[in-house]
């Protein structure tokens, strides 16, 4: 487990609470009656075997799926149905399991797209790229360049992302999410398909984002070493049901978790 940096996170500061959420597709239950919370400033891991409902959970949190039952409270506001762009507006950013980038656009344009919601100038000035719109564009470029420096992707900023290797695509995708300056960052298997070195780089970025910007992070990850190193608390799902919830040390020793991963003799 990672040594807590700074003051211990107060248990009361809940950023997002999921209460008895159930989600099914036709007759197939993806999530059944799951509750957990994410506290402000923590790194919260969601783990579980394949098909446990982890990605479905992220999709529920940022509005791609609408659960049939249960409530989600974000920043003290309980919502019923929220669409993805509204979640983005509220401060939730995410990355995807199979990188979802704008493949024809450059790395720079991809990350700039993350600033969409922050651009306010009217279209007339933007068309001329003059007056207030020019100042705004420059200001956002600065913010984006800082992210590019932070992620060490300066050399590829003009490359269309479709041509980049997978590890770098994942990094650009993280950059786009960071450009939104989110309060809650959802990472769906940020290290999947990476080699050891790339994993270490990505782990460092995740920790730095959490430390420097104070961004709350929820991540799904299969590499247990990474999960145990990075996260403050872990929630474990299996077949859509929550089977454990707690610090990495506690979860690691939990019998239900061990059974779920290794299988159990019936």
């Amino acid at each position: 487990m990672r040594a807590p940096s700074g003051p211990e996170i107060a248990a009361g500061d809940v950023l997002l609470a999921v209460e008895s959420v159930s989600l099914s597709f036709g007759g197939v239950k993806a999530i059944s009656d799951v509750s957990f919370d994410i506290r402000k400033g923590e790194i919260r891991a969601i783990i579980g075997p394949n098909g446990a409902g982890k990605t479905s959970m992220l999709n529920v949190i940022n509005g791609f799926y609408h659960p049939q039952k249960g409530r989600i409270t974000f920043k003290g506001q309980t919502r019923s149905k929220m669409r993805p762009h509204e979640a983005a507006y509220g401060g939730i950013a995410r990355t995807f399991q199979n990188v979802a980038l704008f493949k024809g656009m450059t790395a720079l344009d991809n990350i700039m797209a993350g600033r969409t919601l922050k651009m306010k100038r009217n279209m007339f000035w933007q068309l001329l790229r003059a007056g207030p719109a020019l100042a705004e564009e420059v200001e956002h470029r600065h913010a984006v360049e800082e992210i590019i420096d932070f992620l060490k992707i300066q050399e590829i900023r003009r490359t269309p992302v479709g041509r980049l290797p997978y590890g770098l695509q994942k990094r650009v995708e993280l950059g786009r999410a960071l450009a939104m300056e989110p309060e809650l960052l959802l990472l769906d298997e940020p290290m999947a398909g990476m080699n050891l070195e790339e994993k270490e780089d990505m782990s460092r970025f995740v920790l730095d984002v959490n430390d420097h910007f104070g961004t709350t992070i929820a991540l799904i990850e299969h590499d247990m070493g990474v999960v145990m190193d990075l996260s403050d608390r872990v929630v474990v799902l299996d077949h859509g049901i929550k089977i454990a919830d707690g610090t990495p040390d506690v979860v690691k020793k939990d019998q239900a978790v061990i059974d779920a991963y290794l299988g159990v003799a019936h």
């Binding site: 940022n62 791609f64 669409r83 993805p84 762009h85 983005a88 507006y89 950013a93 995410r94 995807f96 979802a100 980038l101 704008f102 493949k103 024809g104 656009m105 344009d109 700039m112 797209a113 993350g114 969409t116 919601l117 651009m119 100038r121 279209m123 933007q126 068309l127 790229r129 786009r176 999410a177 939104m180």
Partner: protein, 309 residues
């Protein structure tokens, strides 16, 4: 010299006619790029825009307004009609059908075509209405170089200029505005676009609105050429080979495709016509499209489709 002069005349008039096809093809490309929908209704949208313009124009001129004021108000009125159409299509057709198969959406746009054609003629009438926005007299160029000069139609030249301005405007819109960037984002990946806060419903409205405004521009030129009438909807069929040649996803492709189709059919008419019989220009563009389909199915500028197995 006479032969060269004649060749240039045919070529230029072909290229300019091609630009007019491009004007219609552009509307298809915009919607196909952003939503993957082949919008069968683009021809009907040209009719709707043309009728809204010419009818309001005639009404205001009859009421004694000066022509220039009537044109401005008429254009604004027609733009408002196109915005209303975009809103209704998004709200009642594409919105409810989100995430459906491409073929389903294509069928839906066929339905939209009939609704627009019927609605437009119900609201604005179904006669032939002449429109006079551009000069359409003949224009002789290079008379000192070629005997008799090169004959061009001023209207076609105007069409070329307007298409150029339109494409430049669209390029700036796509490159520099927030909405343009959002449109490119949606064209690449719907899910990712939503995750950065882009509303698909809003983008679809914008796309149909822009395609509607492009249809309005096309209607001003084609309406002056043919008069605003129902047969203007068949322009959609003329745009089809242009799209196949240029590629369905490329704005420059729509322009180049139009130039090739236009020049090809006029040159074929002039030089092949005497040999194999006249009327070639009505089908030659489709032959060109067929050749492109065989050699390069995605079109000259389209995105290469690579299937992973």
């Amino acid at each position: 010299m006479v032969a060269l002069g004649q060749f240039l005349e045919v070529l230029l008039s072909g290229l300019l006619a091609g630009v007019l096809y491009s004007l219609v093809a552009l509307g298809f490309v915009l919607i196909f790029k952003a939503s993957g929908v082949f919008n069968f209704a683009q021809g009907a949208m040209v009719l709707l825009a043309g009728l809204a313009l010419v009818r309001s124009l005639d009404l205001m001129v009859a009421k004694g307004l000066p022509f220039w004021a009537a044109v401005i108000i008429g254009l604004l009125f027609a733009a408002a009609i196109m915005a209303a159409m975009a809103f209704l299509v998004e709200r009642f057709v594409l919105g409810p059908l989100a995430n459906q198969d491409g073929l389903t959406l294509f069928m839906a746009t066929i339905g939209v075509t009939f609704m627009i054609e019927g609605g437009a003629q119900m609201l604005f009438g179904s006669n032939v209405y002449p429109l006079r926005l551009y000069p359409d007299d003949a224009w002789f160029m290079f008379e000192n170089i070629f005997e008799g000069g090169i004959l061009l139609n001023k209207l076609d030249v105007w069409g070329g200029v307007i298409a150029g301005v339109l494409v430049a405007g669209l390029a700036l819109f796509f490159q520099w505005t927030k909405t343009g960037r959002a449109l490119r984002a949606v064209a690449d990946d719907h899910t990712a676009a939503q995750s950065v806060g882009i509303s698909l419903n809003w983008i679809w409205f914008v796309v149909w609105l822009v395609a509607g405004l492009v249809a309005l521009v096309a209607a001003t030129v084609w309406g002056t050429k043919l008069g605003v009438q129902f047969s203007i909807t068949f322009l959609a069929l003329k745009a089809l080979p242009v799209l196949i040649i240029g590629g369905f996803t490329s704005v420059p492709g729509a322009i180049v495709g139009g130039l090739i189709a236009g020049a090809g059919e006029k040159l074929a008419e002039a030089y092949l016509g005497p040999i194999i019989g006249g009327g070639i220009e009505y089908w030659f563009a489709y032959v060109l499209a067929l050749i492109v389909l065989l050699a390069r199915p995605q079109g000259l500028f389209g995105e290469r489709i690579i299937e992973r197995i």
